[in-house]
Every structure is written in structure tokens, then in C-alpha cells.
Amino acid sequence: MENLLTLWEGSGAYNLTLGQTLMIAVGLGLLYLAIAKKFEPLLLVPIGFGGILANIPEAGLAISALDQAIEVARPAVLHQMAMALGATLDPLAGEEAWRATLKALVDNGASPDQLRAAKDVAMNVGYGDGLLYTFYQVAVASGIAPLLIFMGVGAMTDFGPLLANPRTLFLFLGAAAQFGIFATVFGAVGPVSALGWMDFSIEQAAAIGIIGGADGPTSIYVSSVLAPELLGAIAVAAYAYMALVPMIQPPIMRLLTTKREREITMTQLRPVSKLEKIVFPLALLMLVALFLPDAAPLLGMFCFGNLMRECGVVERLTDTAQNALINIVTIVLGLAVGSRLMAESFLALETLGIMALGMVAFAIGTAAGILMAKLMNVMSKMPINPLIGAAGVSAVPMAARVANKVGLESNPHNFLLMHAMGPNVAGVIGSAVAAGVMIKYLG
């Protein structure tokens, strides 16, 4: 009988909080979007599932051994842990209060040495770090997973279209599109925080702004450095908006261009030699080394992947970087990001703010890219279709495809895809550079 009670009191149904219920619903919603609507499923399936796992009560999949012990250990263990943390628990306060006291100590007061000692106590009585917690520490907090993904993305990226015409053209579009990032940072600390709507620090604002870069691993990397407490919401927003490119961009594109502009046909791209493709990642790396070392992890791994791809002598490594390795890392990264979908941090007004600001960043970036393309079209001899400016936000290759599609609507013989790939990959570099500036300035 008592055993039955233990089982019931340890069950999810008994312990489920409202927050956890809602977060499980959010996880199911993300899975629905990923599976039924094909919203970036490679990331959103693991993230959504990880979000559900993280919110299963009592399972402790997303928390450390120490936190798990604080939540569920017997009173005797709690007292031992308190001793390790250099505190004593008021005998009259009762179990719930003891747990709250310990949690507060662990989150704030305790020194690293005391935390180690308390963790030793928890481990000794059999508690272990949750699987998703371990994944988060190993893959995200260390920065390793987003960097390996970026290496894989580099190994899949063809810089040919960009190299065919870098002059005054593609990279400026890629740069302009990053305006969404910085405008959003300003907006987040400006109107939003200053007017008291929400309360974002400048670091948080920077991490939110990067969503506008439309680049998942860059967003995760920046927010793991600058605002780990928002990582879950930021990653979800980043991948969701990458998936939403075909919905968000076309109206803005139609609004800011005339039909005649959308019909502009661009000149054929020249062929690019193998050697140019080999030298480009090295040239980019040298510039990063000289001018923005803080972007070196991101762009360094990106260039490494691209060099492996183009050099033509390490096909087996390229193949692994594009397949087995990036897939393994994606699974681990997705589950780890999902582990940050916890009620306390996700179900705050801030999350809606993040979603809204991310959307704004995205829209401003799209608009800035288009407007810059219009300006360049006026100033340059070469005709430039302003639609390709919208591809500068990155979201490779979705944004380029959208530009192509909207172009075809106006002129069914005007294929812009390859022309849009230039600003598209330039946008990846652009947002990594923006990330580097933010980390340099705020990190």
C-alpha cells in the first residue's frame, strides 16, 4: 500500500505543474509545425522532443545531479548537502523550505568549491546528471556543437556565385541585411526596455538581435555566450523564422519594389576557377584573424569546412563533415536546446518579446537588403534585381529560392536563383561578423 503511494507520489500525473503541462504542449506544437508544416524539421523535431523530455516531472533529464537531488532527495541528504554548502537548514522550516533554501544557495551564494562538495554528496547517494543536461554542457555550453554544425555548413556551401561577382554587389547586400540585427538590438534596449515593456539587458538584446541574421548555429553560439538564460527561446525563434522565410519575405518584397524592378534580368555569371574557390576561405580567414578574432571560432570552422570541400584532396573528411558528423551533432544539439525549454524561463512575457523582436529583425533585414539593392541598381551600370537583396539575411538556401520564386511571378523567364545565392552566402558571413562584433564588445 505504502509502495503504491510511493509510486503515485513519484508519478508525473501527481507532480505535473501547470508550467510543465504547457511546455509539453509547446513541445508538441513545435513537433506539429516541424512534421506537418515542414518547419526546419531537422532541428525542430529534436528541439520539440527535447522540450517535452525536459518537462517530464521527476525525471530530471534536463537538470544536474545536484539540482535533481535538491528536488527529490530525502531530508537526510538535504542536510548533508546544506553542510557541504556551508549552511544549516532550519529544522522547523520543513522540507519544501529546505529545498528552496538549497536551490537559492546553489543558484547564487555558493562558491565553486562548495558546489563541488554538494555535487559530491548528490553523486554519492546515486544521483546523476540528466542526459539532456549532459548534452547541453558538452555540446552547447562548450560551444562545440554550433561550431561543428558551422563546419558542416561550410562543407556544404558553394561560394561560386559570390566569387563570380563580389564587386560592389553581393557582399553589400549581405551587409545591409544585417541592419536588422543591430536595429533590433537598439530597439530592444530602446523602446522595449526603456519604456518598461520588458527588461532586456544589452547582452540579451544582442543575442535576440542575432535572430535577424537568420542563421541557427550563429544564434545558438552567440546566445550561449551572451545570454544562456534565453537560449531556448532564441533558438526556437531563429529556426522558426528560418522556416517562415517563404511567408515573411514575399509581402515585404512586393511592398518595396515595383513590378518593373522585379522583372530586371541580370547578366550571366562568369565561371569561377577551382583555385579561386580554394583561396577564398583562406583569404576570409586571414581577414578574420586580422580584424575580428572574436569571430574566429565561427568563421574559422566555417572556412575549414569550406576548404575541405573545395581542396578536393580530403573527400572522405568532407563527406563525413556533411553527413555522419553534422547529423550526430544535430541530434545532440537539438535535444540540448530542447532542454532549455523550461517553464520558468520560456513561459515569460520575454519570450513573446523575443518572438516579436526576432520577427522585426527579420523584416528590417529583408527591407534593408532590398533597399540597398535598389540603391545599387541606380548607382551601378550593371542591372541589379532588388529581389536578390532580400536573400542577404541568409537562411541558405531558402531565402534565395524565395527571391527566385517572387522573380518568376513577375517574369516567368527570369531565373534569379544563382544571382541570389551570392548575397545569401554573404549573409552567413555578415551575421557571423556581426556576432563577432557583439561578442567582442559585450562578451
Binding site: 501547470l18 509547446v26 509545425l33 518547419f39 522558426a240 513573446l352
Partner: protein
């Protein structure tokens, strides 16, 4: 003495364990059967069901859905945890 306790504990674990496994799988049977009934009634197979919704929806709605998913969860949460 201790042996008896151990025996009792073994017996309890056996009863509890088998009981739980049966109850759990019974509930799983019920849930699965209901799930299948619902799906076969409301989303019959031939036009591959998972693919169907992706084709039809008005583009503008997809964005709303994301907001709706998160918004609804947040709304209900904040209703109770006013802070």
C-alpha cells in the same frame, strides 16, 4: 529476520511491478485503440495524412500558428502565476 524482510520486499516488488506493467500496458492499449479510432475516422489513410495539411493552408496562417502555440501556452501560464 532480515531474510524475511528481504523476502517481503521481493514479494512486494513482484506484485507491484507486475501489477504496474499490466496497468500501464492496459492504459496504453486503450489510448492506442482510441487514437487509432480517431485517426481512422477523421484522417483516413489514402491521401497521406501527414502531407495533406502542408499543402492547403493559407501562407499567412502558418506564422500565426507559431505565435498561437506559444501565445496560448504563455497566456494560460500567466493567468495563474501572476507576477
Amino acid at each position: 529476520m532480515q531474510d524475511v524482510e528481504l523476502l517481503e520486499e521481493g514479494l512486494a516488488l513482484m506484485g507491484l511491478g507486475m501489477g504496474f506493467v499490466f496497468v500501464f500496458l492496459t492504459v496504453l492499449v486503450i489510448v492506442t485503440t482510441l487514437m487509432s479510432l480517431v485517426i481512422r475516422r477523421f484522417a483516413p489513410e489514402p491521401p497521406a495524412p501527414a502531407a495533406t495539411p502542408a499543402r492547403s493552408p493559407a501562407p499567412a496562417r502558418q506564422d500565426d500558428e507559431l505565435m498561437a502555440v506559444i501565445g496560448a501556452a504563455l497566456h494560460r501560464y500567466r493567468q495563474r502565476h501572476r507576477r
